[in-house]
């Protein structure tokens, strides 16, 4: 899970350990020399994490394997395979993967342009500030903004029609897979820029110069050194962007109502009104979401471990 360790801390850079910390060999030794002050300091955090993060989530995992009478069952998990639910998962995964991959690619390109493209220096700080805002500009207002832009009466749609191109007749619909993906990119791209910028800063100038003296072109530098060095960061961000899109609901809900049945919207409807007529199936849906986000992180961790050989 260290993949996201640099998320809210762009200043931390690739190395996340601080200065001069005393590292004890045995983590349990801490508990044998606890002082009252330590307990008072740590206890609220631990209690909060247990009551409002860990136990509620574990409760859902357990609930996914219980029938209404509380007995163990695999039926809920098997019921996830029904066409409606399976389709929900499929569209959710597609939207999340597409918006994460596009967001990462475009975000990387923009970050490279502002950091390595020799643009005027003011542009970088402006883009970083804007990214901070845009990465938090999600949910309901974001959907309003895109309705006003690419909706049937939106400015871009109207202007295009004026110019002789009917966006909606050409098959585009904001309330669709691509419409949702384009909307999600509005927070995915800035998030990528925020996270990857410090990593790009970490690429030493001398690596490029050394590669050049050894005969490498700029393209070869990026292929053999630049991208491989950024790779763990890129993957980590990718899995974060995936989780970010996979759990997002407000944007899609306000944008499409229930016309695009992504998993979180299905789960939302289930919690509101038990539309699946089975509380256990709701828990199984939640379990499915947890498993998929966890898988995305495990894939990342496995690849990172391979890269770890050269990570300090």
């Amino acid at each position: 899970m260290t993949n996201v360790s640099s998320v809210a801390d762009p200043a931390a850079g690739p190395v996340s350990t601080g200065p001069a910390v005393r590292v004890g060999g045995n983590p349990f030794r801490f508990f044998t020399r606890l002082r009252l002050g330590d307990i008072i300091a740590i206890a609220p955090f631990i209690i909060f994490a247990l009551l409002f993060l860990l136990i509620p989530t574990l409760g859902l995992v357990v609930g996914a394997f219980q029938d209404p009478q509380g007995n163990f069952t695999l039926q809920n998990v098997m019921d996830l395979a029904t066409p409606q639910i399976a389709a929900s998962f499929w569209i959710s995964i597609r939207v999340s993967v597409t918006s994460a991959v596009l967001g990462a690619a475009i975000g990387l390109a923009i970050a490279l342009a502002i950091i390595r493209g020799k643009l005027p220096s003011g542009i970088r700080s402006t883009v970083m500030t804007f990214s901070g805002v845009a990465s938090q500009f999600a949910g309901i207002p974001l959907s309003f903004a895109f309705l006003a832009t690419l909706g049937r009466l939106g400015l871009v749609t109207v202007l295009l029609k004026f110019a002789g191109f009917d966006l909606y007749k050409s098959g585009f619909n904001l309330l669709s897979f691509w419409g949702l993906t384009i909307t999600y990119l509005y927070f995915q791209i800035p998030l990528m820029i925020l996270i990857i910028a410090p990593a790009i800063d970490g690429l030493k100038k001398e690596w490029g110069e050394a590669a050049a003296t050894l005969g490498a072109t700029n393209g070869q530098f990026w292929r053999y050194i630049g991208l491989p060095v950024l790779w763990p960061n890129l993957l980590g961000t990718l899995s974060l962007l995936f989780a970010n899109a996979f759990g997002a609901i407000a944007t899609a809900y306000a944008l499409t109502g229930s016309s695009l049945n992504i998993v979180p919207i299905l789960l939302y409807a289930q919690i509101r009104g038990d539309v699946l007529h089975n509380p256990g199936l709701g828990a199984a849906l939640a379990l499915g979401m947890i498993v998929i986000t966890a898988l995305a992180n495990i894939v990342y961790l496995v690849i990172r471990t391979r890269a770890e050989r050269w990570l300090k």
């Binding site: 260290t2 809210a8 005393r22 909060f48 989530t57 493209g117 407000a250 809900y253 966890a294």
Partner: protein
């Protein structure tokens, strides 16, 4: 200086267009409420709506509560992890990052099952209980940002040396935190606070499922029933987000610059 490369200008222009056009379009749309021409009537309509004022102040109140509770939980923990128990750091960091991986809807679903009226801790049975639960849910949402902000603040001031220096001068632990550590990390703390506010102010999923009339739920209602007011609300909410993030930028200029940067 070498001139900027063409490709970087092209990428930048493309990105700028993608990010600026929706903002302009939204603003333009919000002015279209009258057939006669552009007016600010949509904004007047929003601001004079009693539910806007109520939901916005409620969101603000819950946000401030979440910031206070969050700080009470995070600051002592981050301080002790950095100073006394650095080997616990991976575990604590893992926990603080969970909310980025566990979707909000899963959290609130878990809360609803765990704190319902028939449970051992029936927070959802009363209005106050539900408010408390909403606050704590927002603390959870903001946890990764809050922890990171405080931890970054602590790193830049070299807690260990400051604490040892204060200890030699005879200060006790409480005095150290209140008089030495906190004033030095206040900028980082405020950054975390504004970030929390930006996240909380438009939140929809959790509040909606807990049946709380927050600003996000209000916006969703308006969106379902009106045509032009939502655009006005989007503009307002973008300005609020920009304001909160702008405060963070402003604060960064006052951050302590004396300590080492790593």
């Amino acid at each position: 200086m070498k001139p900027a490369k063409l490709w970087s200008w092209i990428i930048f222009a493309f990105g700028a267009a993608y990010f600026i056009v929706p903002l302009l379009a939204t603003f333009e749309f919000s002015l279209r409420i009258r057939r006669e021409g552009y007016t600010f009537d949509a904004y007047t309509s929003v601001f004079s709506d009693g539910r806007f004022q109520a939901s916005f102040s409620y969101s603000l109140l819950i946000g401030v509560c979440a910031i206070i509770v969050g700080l009470l939980i995070v600051v002592p923990a981050a301080y002790y992890v950095r100073l006394r128990a650095p080997h616990l750091r991976p575990i604590i960091e893992f926990i603080t990052l969970l909310p980025l991986v566990i979707p909000a809807i899963i959290l609130v679903f878990g809360y609803i099952r765990m704190y319902n009226t028939s449970s051992a801790l029936p927070l959802l049975g009363t209005n106050l209980g539900t408010d408390i639960l909403l606050t704590l849910a927002y603390v959870a949402l903001a946890l990764p940002y809050m922890y990171r902000a405080v931890d970054t603040g602590l790193r830049t001031i070299d807690v260990q040396t400051l604490t040892e220096a204060a200890n030699i001068l005879g200060a006790n632990q409480a005095t150290i935190i209140a008089k030495v550590i906190f004033p030095n990390i206040i900028v980082a703390v405020l950054s975390g606070a504004f970030l929390t506010l930006a996240i909380v102010i438009g939140e929809f999923t959790i509040a909606s499922l807990l049946n709380r009339q927050v600003f996000g739920v209000y916006m969703q209602n308006v969106g379902a029933n009106r045509a032009f007011e939502p655009a006005a609300l989007a503009v307002i909410s973008f300005v609020i987000t920009w304001g909160a993030m702008g405060m963070i930028q402003l604060l960064a200029r006052f951050a302590p610059k004396t300590a080492r940067r790593d």
